[in-house]
């Protein structure tokens, strides 16, 4: 259930997609505060949001608090960035953001 489910019957997909939209919006707002005009190209949170919705019985150690966010610059030249938080993943296409993260990652830590 946790792999790409493209091709899955519409009835099941529609249920899951509904939950995914809520998760994606939430994570975008959290992760992108202060950033100018990101293009939210797509999200792969169908399963991630489903997991969070289906997993109410599990204590993941982040009771009520904000989840840490991990950014993965997949390809700085095209601006493809993945953001991970909780059980969601957001795919951004934002060259400026990608380049800023790459530049920041090259700074010497004193």
């Amino acid at each position: 259930m946790s792999t790409d489910q493209s091709g899955q019957p519409a009835s099941r997909r529609s249920v899951l997609r509904g939950a995914a939209g809520i998760g994606a919006a939430g994570i975008a707002a959290t992760a992108l505060t202060g950033l100018a005009g990101p293009a939210l190209a797509a999200n792969d949170s169908e399963h991630g949001s489903r997991e969070s919705g289906h997993d109410a019985g599990h204590d993941d150690g982040h009771d009520g608090g904000p989840h840490p966010v991990v950014a993965y610059v997949r390809d700085a030249s095209t601006g493809h960035v993945e953001l991970y938080s909780g059980t969601t993943q957001v795919h951004l296409r934002d060259k400026d953001l990608a380049e800023r993260i790459v530049r920041a990652s090259r700074k010497q830590v004193s």
């Binding site: 259930m1 091709g7 997991e51 919705g53 019985g57 150690g61 840490p68 991970y84 993943q89």
Partner: protein, 458 residues
């Protein structure tokens, strides 16, 4: 093995490594289906002081397809968490563990169960206790009475669940089979065995006196099937979140991101024996609905080609079949689509044309009583329609069944003119259910009482 350490990647992540999957109409409750998914291969009972536990970061799932498309229609999800009672102690237990809430048990694990279907998800239970591992006669006295049986818990909807350590019930002569496909009862006929001067010998159960961790759930048949479609496809998966940060202050670190499937198991031995090394971990990450891409491994199994080479002269008809390059439609039916009606009198577990590796169980076939002369651990091959590949019972001898099937015993299902080699009909690794020390229970969760570390120290 059935699926123990079957792929390079997952063999390095044992808590997420599925070992066996069982699905059967319950002998003692024939209106119920029991599904058992085992994880953590080859647990040595004395493996302390950090005894075996489910992975807190792993999402375990038992999936059911009830419309034949290879996608899950119903999923039972299991998530675990571990709590220390006495964090300042290095010990697993500080005294005898006499109950599931005993404060002497330091490292306690509990879990939640969620049912997911197209309507959404339903939390069936949370904070359900796992039993401790069977440490030894002093630490876990009267194990099954005090601990194991107490971990069987009811769930809403007349369901029952258990998650914890159990005795390995799968039997196989690993030491022989993975030594150039040697079978001890036939090793004097093995190409290399003959060169080494080996004589026929009884099989040795390499998995005896070892434990696994079982997730068992029993649910009404009506919970699983669609009207007019009594056959279900079952598989288990384990998933981990995509990102793991090993933070200096984060203890074990913390995972984040969506879950990604890392382990899968439907029919026994498919990934282990049929799928090539380069595709095994990829296979683990795929849903059954995508199994058409692996169908060539089933249609032309490497082992079927090796048997006539490794046992010269023993499989002349199989050798001809191999040389013909005809696809093994018998194996494709058994493993990928189910057996259509008309091939075996009174039996079908066909789910449609979609090729998907799932354990297919026709729930309309009643269980065969253990004491009945009709009961056969060889399942359908042995004339017992309630056994593998109609689901899989704890006692089913899947190694012998699949060895014989690959050797051509089931090919007459699709070509009645095919003459099965005499050796194929008696092929075995020399083991039976009697090769297992701790036998299956007659009641849920059916998996035997785990071996204790004191009496099984190595």
């Amino acid at each position: 093995m059935s699926s123990h350490r079957e792929a390079p990647g997952i063999s390095k992540d044992p808590v997420a490594d599925s070992t066996d999957l069982y699905a059967f109409v319950s002998q003692d409750r024939p209106n119920m289906v029991t599904m058992v998914a085992n994880y953590i291969p080859l647990e040595t009972p004395a493996g302390g002081p950090n005894f075996y536990e489910f992975g807190d970061g792993v999402l375990y799932e038992i999936n059911i397809d009830n419309d034949g498309d290879g996608w899950p229609d119903i999923t039972y999800q299991f998530r675990f968490k571990t709590r220390l009672t006495t964090p300042h102690s290095f010990l697993y237990n500080t005294g005898p563990i006499k109950s599931l809430s005993d404060p002497t048990w330091n490292s306690k694990q509990s879990y939640s169960v969620t049912r997911v279907d197209r309507r959404g998800s339903q939390l069936l239970g949370r904070n359900l206790p796992c039993p401790p591992c069977n440490v030894g006669i002093l630490s876990t006295p009267n194990y099954e009475k005090n601990l194991g049986s107490k971990a069987v818990r009811p769930l809403p909807g007349n369901r029952r669940v258990f998650a914890g350590q159990r005795a390995e019930q799968f039997y196989v002569d690993l030491g022989s089979i993975f030594d150039l496909a040697n079978l001890r009862p036939f090793q004097e006929a093995n190409l290399f065995g003959k060169m080494a001067g080996l004589k026929a010998a009884p099989g040795v159960n390499a998995t005896d006196r070892l434990n696994v961790h079982s997730i068992a759930i029993q649910v009404p048949i009506s919970d699983l099937v669609r009207r007019g479609r009594p056959t279900i496809g079952v598989w288990t998966t384990a998933s981990r979140q995509k990102v793991h940060i090993a933070d200096e202050d984060g203890g074990d670190g913390w995972p984040t991101g969506p879950f990604r499937q890392v382990s899968r198991l439907g029919n026994p031995l498919v990934n282990e024996v049929l799928i090539a090394l380069e595709d095994k971990d990829f296979w683990n990450r795929q849903p059954p609905a995508h199994d058409k891409q692996f169908a060539h491994y089933v249609a032309n199994p490497e082992l079927a080609n090796l048997l006539p080479i490794l046992y010269p002269g023993a499989f002349p008809n199989l050798a001809k079949l191999d040389a013909s390059r005809k696809p093994r439609l018998d194996l494709e039916a058994i493993l990928l689509t189910g057996i259509p009606s008309g091939l075996i009198k009174g039996f079908t577990n066909f789910t449609g044309k979609v090729q998907a590796d799932m354990l297919r169980l026709n729930t309309s076939i009643p269980p065969t009583p253990r004491r009945s002369p009709k009961f056969s651990p060889l399942g359908v091959v042995g004339g017992d329609l309630a056994g593998f590949p109609n689901g899989r019972r704890i006692e089913d001898d899947v190694v012998t069944i699949e060895l014989r099937a690959i050797a051509g015993v089931t090919y007459p299902l699709v070509d009645p003119k095919y003459k099965v080699d005499g050796v194929a009909k008696i092929l075995t690794d020399g083991l039976t259910g009697a090769s297992v020390t701790n036998k299956p229970l007659s009641r849920f969760p059916y998996m035997g009482v785990p071996y204790d570390g004191y009496n099984n120290p190595s």
